[in-house]
Symmetry: C2
Subunit: 321 residues, 2 copies
Amino acid sequence: MTIFITGVAGFIGCRLAGELLKRGERVAGFDNLCRGSLQNLNTVRDHPNFTFSAIDLADLDAYRKALRSVHAQEPVSEIWHMAANSDIPAGVSDPNVDFRDTFLTTFNSLILMKELGIGIMAFASSSAVYGDLGNEVLTEDIGPLFPISNYGAMKLASEAAISAALESYLQNAFVFRFPNVIGVPATHGVIQDFIRKLKATPGNLDVLGDGTQQKSYLHVDDLIDALLYIRNEAHDRLNYFNVAGNDDGVTVKFIAEAVVSRVAPGATITFGQGNRGWVGDVPKFKYSTLKLSSLGWRPRLSSVQAIEKAVNEIAEQEFGR
Amino acid sequence: MTIFITGVAGFIGCRLAGELLKRGERVAGFDNLCRGSLQNLNTVRDHPNFTFSAIDLADLDAYRKALRSVHAQEPVSEIWHMAANSDIPAGVSDPNVDFRDTFLTTFNSLILMKELGIGIMAFASSSAVYGDLGNEVLTEDIGPLFPISNYGAMKLASEAAISAALESYLQNAFVFRFPNVIGVPATHGVIQDFIRKLKATPGNLDVLGDGTQQKSYLHVDDLIDALLYIRNEAHDRLNYFNVAGNDDGVTVKFIAEAVVSRVAPGATITFGQGNRGWVGDVPKFKYSTLKLSSLGWRPRLSSVQAIEKAVNEIAEQEFGR
């Protein structure tokens, strides 16, 4: 059987493919190569159990044709749907970005799962479905759900479509809501932003917002471990989990200092005003991971350790040293 | 200023238009006439303050052209988005129905509101966003939200898109989650189904499910009153309300008996098995209307009274007597 990954050339997709291949699985993946890149597939492309096609999943006809061909060679048993727009600000200026890349990719995947009889969906959702609930602890069952970005809205729309599909043709679903994931190959995110800014102006780092925004970060190694752990250990029809570390996270100020200390020691950090970096950004949240720890999973790295490791990895990626 | 109504030729849309015209507003409306009908507009079509166009809102270019023309004549101040697929089982067999008619109509409306600077959205959402939460009392803030029909999923997706739009260009939104609304002009629903079955076989009424499904019903007169009340009295940026009566509702058995007694006295009622009528149907729920009553609104008719009035009205519509 084949495990099929959408967005396989993205940050999470390529790491997931690598881990599944390591575990002896047969893996096929599609990507529109819009934010993902062939370079991200360097470590898996030549593996005999891996196949890749450059397909835009928002184009149902192209997606159908390509997936049917994969399915005909060796049946697809499950779809890991990782494809999405990953650039939240881009989705604010143009809602079509998240409509196409975050929602339509899910909707089309479900249509094809129905057509081909593929019963298992594992979906990369997001903490963004919760919107801004103030100081509430974000358990998986909290409401109301009013996302404040198109990205969050289209992730919630995707969850809803998956949930409805479970009522008719889908067998099982795994919904992973993860917050900020860091590591390499980095394609976006605060660490890479800071490093690139310092590359351009090594003496100063301008930070959006006042630096007090606090978030939990998970290293990609831990994330992949958690996803596969949940896939194997959770046995409800619909399994939905917050995936994150157990701590309250770190501030933007901490990240800025870690980056400066690694790539431009002595540079000045200039903070902006307010505690939101951009429209759709949530200043601070407390993410409950009780459900995931009750299932028996623990991250190896805390938010602080994850940031330190990722700063080092992304600095190497960006500077080659 | 013009108040613009989508789905204006549908059950709720035409009644809303009538009430707004009565209150002295200028009203424009579009409808794809797929489930709505020109006949439903008989009482408003000749009103000097009313204009209508047959437009498929899922076709963004056609929608844009027509709305720009309305807006150019007399600016649109708010959109009442009532257009949606209203046939839940149809959306189960073909997810595209709710994708197009329930979600894409919302998404396109938001795009045009951004383009034209229309700041206020009033949206007909649904109790279906709650999915099946068992015996929990459904307050507006409950979670998790996992709809069990594509209809519910695309209503939740619409709410999410509206919520995200509020974070950037939208000024105010009103989200009305209503359960089963009854009255005339009836286009679908349990009362009309029963009456049509009895028209075909007057001696017997076959009921899907065991008749114990219990739901709250609101008469359309009360519904329109509640929507306009909320529009005037609620002043948050995002105002989201369950709209329903204050009672626990009535069973399918009660409705079947009311219909038989009105249109075919003496007919036998045969019940099926199980307490779900179809995939996506929620057997029983308790709908909290505390938020709406705290705002000061009360329905004039209970579920029992609403059913009795609507049975009479729909019998007249179907039999002409």
